[in-house]
C-alpha cells in the first residue's frame, strides 16, 4: 500500500475533539486508529459516505476521533445500529468497532446473526482478552487459567475463538491481525473494506494496564513482543502440526468466500412484492 502522508491523516481526524485520546499510554487502540485512518484514506472512499459505529468499552471511544459520521451506541449493540444504518442507506460504508466483551459476550447474539445474515457490514473486533475499561474482569476470550479481577484464582471457562465463531456463523470474510503487525493490519482492513458481505477482522491488542499486570506479562512492549513471537502466517499455520501450533495463533485471511448478501436477496424480495402488487391491481 502506498504510504499515507501525515497531512492526509490529519484531515481524517477530528480536531474539535481534543486530543490526546482517552486510552492508556501504550494501548493498541491508538495503533488501530492509525491503521484504520490510513486504510480509509487509501480506500479512496468519500468520508461523507463512511459511518463508524461502536459499542461500549475502550474500543467504543474510537469513532469519535475520526471525521466521519460516528455513532457510539450501547454495550454490545453496535451491529444492530449498523444493520439499521446499512439497510436505511445501502450506499454507505458502515464499519463497526467493538471489543471482545462487547462483541462476544453481551453482543454475542448480534455478532452471530450479523455474520449469518451476511449484510454488507465491516466489523473490527479488538481482542484484549479482558474488560479493560471496567478494570480487568474476565471476558469470553480470557484464556483458561489466566487471572482477572473476577477470576483471582484463575479463569475456569474455555474461551471463544472470535474468528472461528464468526466464520462458522457465516461471515464472508474473516481475518486476524495484531497491533504489532501494522503493515499486515493495514492490508487486512483494506481487504475487509473491499469485500462485499459481512467482513470481520479480529485485532489482538495488549491491555497491559489490566490483563498484563494481573498476569505478570510485563510492559506493553513485552506484550507486543509476544505477538511477534507467537503469530504465524495463516499459510504456514495450515501446514503446522497440532504440537507446533501449541501456544501460537495464526494471522492473515482465514475465510474469504462469495455468497449473495442480504441486500442482494432483499432486492429480489422487493421486486417480487412489487410485481405481485401490480398483478393484483390489474
Amino acid at each position: 500500500m502506498p504510504p499515507v502522508h501525515r497531512s492526509v491523516v490529519y484531515e481524517w481526524l477530528r480536531h474539535d475533539k481534543k486530543f490526546p485520546h482517552v486510552w492508556c499510554p501504550g494501548c493498541g487502540l491508538g495503533v488501530l486508529l492509525g491503521s484504520l485512518v490510513r486504510t480509509l484514506v487509501n480506500s479512496g472512499l468519500d468520508k461523507n459516505r463512511v459511518v463508524l459505529v461502536s459499542g461500549i468499552g475502550c474500543s467504543g471511544r474510537l469513532p469519535v476521533y475520526v471525521d466521519v459520521g460516528s455513532v457510539h451506541t450501547t454495550h454490545g449493540r453496535a451491529l444492530t445500529f449498523a444493520t439499521g444504518i446499512k439497510l436505511a442507506n445501502p450506499d454507505l460504508t458502515v464499519i463497526t468497532v467493538m471489543g471482545d466483551g462487547d462483541a462476544t459476550a453481551i453482543g454475542g447474539n448480534h455478532l452471530i446473526h450479523a455474520a449469518r445474515r451476511n449484510l454488507d457490514l465491516n466489523a473490527i473486533i479488538v481482542n484484549n482478552l479482558n474488560y479493560g475499561m471496567t478494570g480487568g474482569q474476565y471476558s469470553p476470550t480470557t484464556p483458561m487459567g489466566a487471572k482477572a479481577t473476577t477470576a483471582r484464582y484463575g479463569h475456569i471457562e474455555p474461551s471463544f475463538d472470535i474468528s472461528a465463531l464468526s466464520a462458522t456463523a457465516g461471515a464472508a470474510f474473516v481475518a486476524r491481525s495484531t497491533v504489532y503487525h501494522v503493515t499486515q493490519l493495514d492490508k487486512m482492513l483494506s481487504l475487509m473494506l473491499q469485500k462485499r458481505g459481512f467482513s470481520l477482522v479480529e485485532v489482538l491488542s495488549p491491555c497491559h494496564t489490566n490483563f498484563g499486570r494481573q498476569n505478570k506479562l510485563g510492559s506493553q512492549v513485552d506484550m507486543m513482543k509476544t505477538y511477534k513471537r507467537d503469530a504465524v502466517r495463516q499459510e504456514r499455520w495450515e501446514k503446522m502440526s497440532q504440537e507446533e501450533r501449541e501456544g501460537r495463533f495464526s494471522i492473515g485471511v482465514l475465510v474469504d468466500r462469495d455468497h449473495p448478501t442480504y441486500l442482494d436477496h432483499y432486492a429480489e424480495v422487493c421486486q417480487r412484492a412489487a410485481r405481485l402488487r401490480e398483478e393484483a391491481k390489474s
Binding site: D16, S70, R77, G84, H110, A273, A274, R277
Partner: protein, 381 residues
C-alpha cells in the same frame, strides 16, 4: 369512464390499523421480533414495506430490533418497531439511548398481562408506569394509548408526528383487546393525513452542531452519510455531540431535554370527553378499559346516574389540566385499570384531595365489564 369513489370504510383489526397509520405517517423502516399480541403489526409491515421498496427486517431479538430502528432513523428513515411486555422490557436500554441521543422512533407496546411471561395473551395494562420510567435515568416520555381501531390509526400517525417534531422516541401503548378487536373504520383519503417530518439542518455541514437548538429547544437532525459528519453518543454530550462532564454544559443539556417536551404540554395533552357537561360522577379510563367505561356511562344514564367519562389518550406527559378540569365539582371519580392503580395514583396527585377518587383495579386476566363498574359505583355513591 368516471372513476368510482374509493370507499375508505374498512373492517380492520387494531394492530392492522396501527400498521396502516404508520404507513400513512410515512413509516419507511420496520424492524421487529415476533411476540403475541403484537405480531400482526410485524407481519403486515413485512408484506407492505418490500412492495414499497422500503426495508423490513426481523431481527434476532427486541434489543436488536430497536437498535436497528435507531440506526435507520439516524440515516434518515422513519422507523418503527412493535412488541409486547417481555420485548418492551428488553428495549428499555436503547429506549434510553434514543432519549439521550434524541433519535425519533416509534415503539409499539401491545400490553398483555405481566410481569414476565405473565398470561399470554390475556389483557393487561401493567406497563403504564414502565412506559414512563422503564429506562434508567431521568428523562421525559411521550406515551399515547388508543381505545378503538380508529384511534389506533390516528394515534399511530400522531406518534410519528410527535417523534419527528420533538426528535424523541414515542411509545404507542396499546393492549391485547384493542389490538385484536375488529371495528369498522373510515380511513382518511390519501394525502389527507397531516404528516410532520423532522427539521433537518439549514446550515452547511461545517457549521452544523447536532445538539444546538434554537428557541424551540429541538435541534435539527441531519441524516447520517449526507455530508454532515457528526457524532452521536449515549454519553452526556455538548452541542457538538462530544462527551462532556462540565457542569456548565451538562445542566443546559438536561434542561433542554425536558424543556422541549414540557413547553409543549398543551399540544401533547390528548383526551376525549363523554357526557362530561352535567356529569356528577366521573370515570377516568384509557385503552380497552375506556370502552367498558363508555358502555357504563350509557347504561348508567339510562338508569338515572349522571355519569361522565374522561378518556385519556396521552398518558405521558400526564394530561394534568384536562384531568383537573374534569374533576372539578364532581362528587366522585372512579379510575378503572387492569393494574393495581398506575394511573389512579396520578389522578389522585392531580386531584390533590378535592374530589373523592377511587381506583378500580382488576388483575385476573379478564376485562372490566360495564356492569362491574356500575356495581362498584352503586357501592361508592
Amino acid at each position: 369512464m368516471a372513476k368510482t369513489p374509493v370507499n375508505r370504510a374498512r373492517l380492520l383489526q387494531g394492530n392492522e390499523a396501527i400498521a396502516l397509520g404508520a404507513l400513512a405517517a410515512g413509516c419507511d423502516f420496520f424492524a421487529g421480533y415476533p411476540i403475541t399480541p403484537a405480531s400482526e403489526i410485524t407481519e403486515i409491515m413485512s408484506r407492505e414495506l418490500p412492495a414499497l421498496g422500503h426495508p423490513f427486517i426481523q431481527m434476532e431479538d427486541e434489543i436488536a430490533s430497536i437498535g436497528c430502528c435507531l440506526g435507520a432513523s439516524l440515516a434518515g428513515r422513519k422507523a418503527m418497531t412493535a412488541t409486547s411486555g417481555p420485548g418492551f422490557s428488553l428495549m428499555q436500554e436503547n429506549l434510553g439511548y434514543a432519549c439521550i441521543a434524541e433519535i425519533p422512533t416509534v415503539i409499539v407496546n401491545v400490553m398483555r398481562a405481566g410481569p414476565s411471561t405473565g398470561m399470554p395473551t390475556n389483557p393487561g395494562q401493567g406497563d403504564v408506569q414502565q412506559a414512563r420510567w422503564g429506562t434508567h435515568g431521568d428523562h421525559p416520555a411521550i406515551v399515547l394509548c388508543p381505545a378503538s381501531v380508529g384511534e389506533c390509526f390516528e394515534v399511530a400517525v400522531q406518534c410519528f408526528n410527535f417523534a419527528e417534531r420533538f426528535r424523541t422516541p414515542v411509545v404507542l401503548l396499546s393492549d391485547e383487546v384493542v389490538a385484536h378487536m375488529r371495528e369498522k373504520v373510515t380511513l382518511p383519503a390519501e394525502g389527507q393525513v397531516e404528516v410532520i417530518n423532522r427539521p433537518r439542518p439549514l446550515e452547511p455541514p461545517d457549521w452544523y452542531k447536532p445538539y444546538k437548538a434554537d428557541g424551540s429547544q429541538i435541534p435539527r437532525l441531519a441524516d447520517l452519510g449526507q455530508g454532515y459528519r457528526y457524532h452521536v453518543t449515549g454519553l452526556v454530550h455538548d452541542e457538538r455531540g462530544f462527551p462532556t462532564r462540565r457542569a456548565d454544559e451538562v445542566e443546559p443539556f438536561y434542561a433542554r431535554l425536558f424543556n422541549k417536551i414540557s413547553r409543549n404540554f398543551t399540544m401533547l395533552e390528548m383526551v376525549k370527553g363523554v357526557a362530561l357537561e352535567d356529569a356528577e360522577i366521573l370515570i377516568i379510563a384509557y385503552g380497552c378499559t375506556a370502552r367498558s367505561a363508555q358502555a357504563a356511562v350509557r347504561l348508567g344514564r339510562e338508569r338515572g346516574l349522571k355519569l361522565g367519562l374522561l378518556q385519556l389518550i396521552s398518558l405521558w406527559p400526564f394530561p394534568r389540566r384536562p384531568v383537573e378540569e374534569a374533576l372539578a365539582g364532581k362528587k366522585l371519580c372512579l379510575v378503572p385499570e387492569l393494574n393495581m392503580g398506575q394511573i389512579s395514583r396520578e389522578v389522585k396527585r392531580v386531584n390533590n384531595g378535592r374530589t373523592q377518587v377511587h381506583r378500580h383495579s382488576k388483575m385476573d386476566g379478564s376485562m372490566i365489564t360495564p356492569e362491574e363498574l356500575l356495581a362498584r359505583l352503586r357501592v361508592l355513591s
